[in-house]
Each structure stands twice: as structure tokens, then as C-alpha cells.
């Protein structure tokens, strides 16, 4: 299967990587003691490692090509399975039923830790769905989404700290304030396009974080706010395990509501307007769509979900400080949307579960986990650039009288 030429090429590539990694992998210097450590064995590891990786990639590419040759005529069904299920209402209901019962019994099967990280993953699903409105549907590249998340989290933390307001009371307030922040951001950036918009939203996110960090009187600065109340359960203060469990079910419920609403938005007059806006702004306006209003609504709705999840986040960790709201967080949420497949709700769910659970399960790799995370992010994009699940084309059934 492997020709001599290919092997030769693979060897050359391995040698190139040996050269590439030579200074960083092989040499280690101690500038104070003035000693040089030559770690030649690392060069060998690199060579062998790259050789194997390349062989693997070639092997799979080869196999895929052969497969494609075999069934050239059959339609692309690599992703059709999930869509087939979603399209057929009976299958869909069965699947949803199975999924729901799995989700409900999850905490009883697994331990608190698993439940805990599942809550985190679910939070990111909702964050992803929120950002999906802005980026996936309306096509507005937002790199500062974490700002709205922070607004929500700090709303709860501060209102709880100063006025003792409870979780359920702040939930809508946090969402509302975040939506308001979304509109505030939206106004100045209405005119900006593409990457200019991206950098301004990035700046906005940083500004919010810096204000939280520096304005001690308001936000208590970098030392953060501790002892935030967990959600009360009808006035009863729950123990830690119970409140994690409680939060888990709150999150599940909230996720279902979110999916329901986002799905309806997507298939509405407003959702169509967002997609049209993403496709062509000028034509969109010429068709009578108010660009400003549509954009602002997208920003506000996206931010609303972030704000609500922020409130849940503060209630979950019981402690927040600005360190949780860095640019990297925005990048992760954006990765969820893109990885899942822009504009696809199912995709976002998969994307969030993968990106959030992956680093947790990669804990076994300990110090290599972020290295692996970065590599996987690149690999997923290279092998599936359109995302895990690309959006289904919506068809309308039309009966003529």
C-alpha cells in the first residue's frame, strides 16, 4: 500500500520536524550555571513520532479515498444519520426520549465529579447556543462574548452580596442586564464589518474585565467575591451534593428551554432575517430589513443567554473573580460554535460537550492535556472544516388548495 516514494517523503518530513524542533527540544541551557544539556534522545522521539503520525494520516486518507471510489454514486451520508433521525418525527421522539432518560439518570449512575463537569459542559452548550445566534446566524464575529457572561455572573454576585437577592430573583435580572450590555456594545459597532467588528468586540470584552479588575469599590477587584449563595430549593439550604444535583436539573431544564426557544427563533421571520443579514447586508436592506434593529436584537438575545449562564456560573462556583472572564474563554465559546458547525443547534451541543469534557477527561494526560487540546482543535478543523454537523437545509412543506 505504501510506495517507496511515499516512505521517502515521510522520512523527509520527519527529518524536517527534527530540524524544526531541534533548538527547543534538544538543547536546554541554564544561563546562570552556564551549562548546556543536549537531549539527543528527544530528536529521536520527534522523528519516530512524526513518522508514525504521518503514516497514520496517510493510511486513513488512503482508506477514505478507496471508500469514496467504491460508492461514488451514493450520497454523502457521513452526517446524514443524525439528520435522518431529526427529520423523521417518530425516530426523533424515540431518540429524544432515550436521551432525556439518560440525562435524568446520569447523576445516579456517575459520581458528583461527573455531574459537576456535566453541569459545566451544559453551561457551555447554552453559551454556545447564545453565541450561535450572533455568529452562526447573524454572521457577526464576536470575540468578546465573555463580557456578557461576566455581566451576568457579577450581577448575581453583587446583588446577592449587597442585597441578599436570591438566585431565582437575579436570573432574569442578570439576563436582562447582559442583554442591555449587548445593545450598548451593538450601537457603536453597527457600521463595522467582519474582522473589524471582531477586534472591537475583543476590546469590549477586555474593557469589561479590566474594569472588574481595577474598580475595587464596585467589584472588589481581583480578590473577587466569595460565599455567593447556591440556589435555594424552596427556601431550604441544601448540602453540597444536593445542590450540585439541583443545579444539574436546573441546567437541564434551562437547556431544554433554550434549545426550544433558539430553534423557534431560527425558524422564524426574525431567524430568516439574521441569515439574510449574514449572507448579504446590502441585499438584505434592499429587501426592507432594518439592519440596525436586526443586529441589535441578535446581540441582545445572544448576550441574554450569556448573562443567564453567568448567574448560574456564579451560583455554581460560589466564588468569582475577573480571572474567569479572559479572552481565552471567548475563544473557547467561539470554538464551540465553529467546531459544532455554524448555525446548527445539534452541532453546538456536540461541540460544547467535546470541547469542555475533553480537557476534563484529558486530565489523565496531566501536563500534556493542553498540548493535546490545541492539537485536537487544529486537527478537527483540518479534517472537518465545516464543523461536525453542518446545518440542514430547511425545507417547507406546502400544500396547495
Amino acid at each position: 500500500m505504501f510506495t517507496l516514494k511515499e516512505i521517502k517523503k515521510t522520512v523527509l518530513i520527519s527529518l524536517w520536524f527534527v530540524f524544526l524542533t531541534f533548538p527547543l527540544m534538544v538543547i536546554k541551557v541554564d544561563p546562570i550555571e552556564k551549562t548546556v544539556l543536549w537531549r539527543w534522545h528527544n530528536a529521536l522521539y520527534v522523528a519516530i513520532g512524526i513518522f508514525c503520525i504521518r503514516c497514520l494520516i496517510e493510511f486513513f486518507r488512503h482508506r477514505k479515498q478507496q471508500k469514496e471510489k467504491k460508492k461514488k454514486n451514493s450520497s454523502d451520508d457521513s452526517q446524514a444519520l443524525i439528520h435522518r433521525i431529526l427529520v423523521d418525527p417518530r425516530k426523533r421522539n424515540i431518540m429524544l426520549g432515550v436521551l432525556l432518560s439518560l440525562v435524568v439518570i446520569f447523576p445516579f449512575v456517575f459520581d458528583t465529579y461527573q455531574t459537576n463537569i456535566m453541569i459545566t459542559a451544559l453551561m457551555y452548550v447554552v453559551l454556545g447556543l447564545g453565541l450561535n445566534i450572533v455568529v452562526g446566524m447573524a454572521g457577526l464575529l464576536d470575540l468578546g462574548f465573555v463580557a456578557f457572561y461576566a455581566v451576568g455572573a457579577y450581577s448575581y454576585a453583587l446583588l446577592n452580596h449587597h442585597f441578599g437577592l436570591g438566585f431565582w430573583a437575579v436570573l432574569p435580572i442578570g439576563g436582562g442586564l447582559a442583554a442591555f450590555a449587548g445593545i450598548l456594545l451593538g450601537f457603536p459597532v453597527l457600521r463595522l464589518r467582519g474582522d473589524y467588528l471582531a477586534i472591537v468586540t475583543l476590546g469590549f470584552g477586555e474593557i469589561i474585565r479590566l474594569i472588574l479588575e481595577n474598580w475595587n469599590e464596585f467589584s472588589m477587584g481581583p480578590s473577587g467575591i466569595s460565599n455567593i449563595d447556591r440556589p435555594y430549593f424552596f427556601g431550604i439550604n441544601l448540602s453540597l451534593e444536593h445542590s450540585i444535583l439541583y443545579l444539574y436539573y436546573i441546567m437541564i431544564l434551562f437547556l431544554i428551554v433554550t434549545i426550544f426557544i433558539v430553534n423557534r427563533l431560527q425558524n422564524s421571520r426574525l431567524g430568516r432575517a439574521w441569515i439574510a443579514l449574514r449572507e448579504d447586508e446590502i441585499a438584505c436592506q434592499a429587501m426592507g430589513i432594518d439592519k440596525r434593529k436586526t443586529k441589535l436584537v441578535a446581540f441582545a438575545l445572544g448576550a441574554f443567554w450569556a448573562g443567564v449562564v453567568g448567574v448560574i456560573f456564579a451560583a455554581k462556583t460560589t466564588f468569582i473573580n475577573p480571572a474567569s472572564f479572559t479572552f481565552l474563554e471567548s475563544a473557547i465559546i467561539l470554538s464551540i460554535v465553529v467546531l459544532g458547525g455554524m448555525g446548527s443547534i445539534v452541532g453546538v451541543i456536540f461541540g460544547a460537550l467535546i470541547l469542555i469534557l475533553l480537557p476534563e477527561y484529558l486530565r489523565a494526560l496531566s501536563e500534556y492535556r493542553m498540548l493535546a487540546f490545541g492539537a485536537i482543535l487544529v486537527a478537527m478543523m483540518v479534517f472537518r472544516p465545516q464543523g461536525l454537523i453542518s446545518k440542514i437545509r430547511r425545507t417547507y412543506t406546502f400544500k396547495q388548495e
Binding site: R269, E279, M287
Partner: protein, 259 residues
């Protein structure tokens, strides 16, 4: 005589120091097909852009009057979406469809400014919203049938043939229920067969009482369709009249053939 649907007076547009439109007057009457012709760079598309709100003109008036009414609306300075809302819809010289949306969805977008459902309606999907959605669907589908694209309703717009994309743009513009339809070079790049079909389509729409203003280079098409023709050169209106008059107008001949 009834008030013309569109009455443009003294429309002027400056870009920096260059005067692209110089006090242009034009009017389109109820139910007629008017054409705007002129050599390349005469300012025809600039005229469209000024009328539809993409550019804000330096001076002049753009008045739109619904049929059988005396209430004129001034369109000058309005945003493109407001212009469309008031009843002026256009197509684009270089096709601007929503390429990753289906053919049907493209037309449904055109219904946007004639419908109302918003966030709450979308979420609750109450009876009024459902009825509205159904009407959007029916209206859009009927338009697709009119332009002959009903059997491709679920295709992505980008997968249509060139001529079909042009027709889809017309359908999309019609979906906004315009008082006046502006067509920017609808036949550009079409083969004779497609042009012939377009000719029939425009005539069909016109027969239903739709007022149309078109920019076109294909003289055969212009002459066959138009009730009246306006000729521009170097940003000025140099002639207007019926096809026969224009054909023999010395200024027009000079503009097209040079000195």
C-alpha cells in the same frame, strides 16, 4: 392626468469633486414600463442607488405616490430598508441573492417588510404568527410559480442557473409588494433564449398592473418592452420619449456613436 408613481426632480449626486448625477428629472407613470438607457458610466446605476437610499443624494427630490392617491412620500434621505418599506423594490446588476438560503427562503425574505412577527411571536408561535407564516409561504410560493421556479424551491440559490438567479431576484423584489419595481440590467449575461423568457416575464408582470423602471443595454429588449425611454449621458438626462422618438433622436445617436 394622474400623479406619476415616481417623480424625481433635480436629482444631483457628487462624489468628491465629481458630479455623477446632474439635476436629473424622471417620472414613471402608473402601469407603464419605463427604461433608463445610456452608455457605460452615464450614471444609471448611481441613479438607482440614489433613489433606493444606498447613496444619499446631494440635492433633488424623490417622490413616490401610490396609485389613485394624492399622498406623496418623499424618499430622499431614507435608508434602503425604509425605501423598500415605502414601496420601491429593486434587483441588482451583479446578482445579490442570499446564496446559502433556499430559493423559497429568498423570496420569503422579501415578505419581511410586509409582516410583523418578532421575538415573542417567534418564541410563542401563537395563532397570529402561524397564520402569518402560512401566508408568507403561500405568497412566496405563488411568486415562484409566476417566475417558473416553483420546482426548484428547495434548492440553494447559488445552485441555480444564471437566468434563474435573475428571475429569482425579480421574484424576491416582487415579494415586497412594490409600487414600482426597479430592474438593474436584468438581461445582462443572458443568452437569447433566456432573454426571450425574461421579455415574456416582464410583460406578464406588467400586464398585472405593475409599474416597472429598468436599466438595460439590450436595445432590442428595451425597444420591445418600454412605453417610454429616458436616456442619460455624463450624468445628465439628454432625452426622453417613446421608442420611436428615441430611435431617431440625434442627441441619443451622438451619445451612443460618438461625434
Amino acid at each position: 392626468m394622474t400623479t406619476p408613481i415616481l417623480k424625481v426632480t433635480g436629482l444631483t449626486m457628487d462624489f468628491g469633486g465629481i458630479r455623477a448625477l446632474d439635476s436629473v428629472d424622471l417620472d414613471v407613470r402608473q402601469g407603464e414600463i419605463a427604461a433608463l438607457i445610456g452608455p457605460n458610466g452615464a450614471g444609471k446605476t448611481t441613479f438607482f442607488n440614489c433613489v433606493t437610499g444606498i447613496y444619499i443624494p446631494t440635492a433633488g427630490e424623490v417622490m413616490l405616490t401610490p396609485a389613485g392617491s394624492n399622498k406623496s412620500k418623499n424618499l430622499k434621505g431614507l435608508k434602503p430598508n425604509q425605501v423598500t418599506q415605502r414601496g420601491l423594490a429593486r434587483t441588482f446588476q451583479n446578482i445579490r441573492l442570499f446564496s446559502r438560503m433556499t430559493v423559497l427562503e429568498n423570496v420569503m425574505i422579501g415578505r419581511h417588510c410586509r409582516t410583523k412577527a418578532f421575538i415573542l411571536g417567534a418564541i410563542l408561535r401563537n395563532r397570529a404568527t402561524r397564520r402569518e407564516e402560512r401566508k408568507i409561504l403561500e405568497y412566496s410560493y405563488a411568486l415562484l410559480e409566476k417566475v417558473g421556479l416553483a420546482n426548484q424551491a428547495d434548492e440553494f440559490a447559488e445552485n441555480l442557473s444564471y437566468g434563474a438567479q435573475r428571475r429569482l431576484e425579480i421574484a424576491r423584489a416582487l415579494a415586497t409588494e412594490p409600487l414600482l419595481l426597479l430592474l438593474d440590467e436584468p438581461a445582462a449575461g443572458m443568452n437569447p433564449q433566456e432573454t426571450k423568457e425574461l421579455d415574456e416575464l416582464i410583460k406578464k408582470i406588467s400586464r398585472e398592473g405593475q409599474a416597472i423602471l429598468l436599466i438595460e443595454h439590450d436595445m432590442k429588449l428595451v425597444m420591445s418592452l418600454s412605453d417610454r425611454i429616458f436616456v442619460m449621458d455624463y450624468g445628465k438626462m439628454i432625452a426622453k420619449g417613446n421608442p420611436a422618438e428615441i430611435r431617431t433622436n440625434p442627441d441619443v445617436i451622438k451619445a451612443y456613436l460618438g461625434e
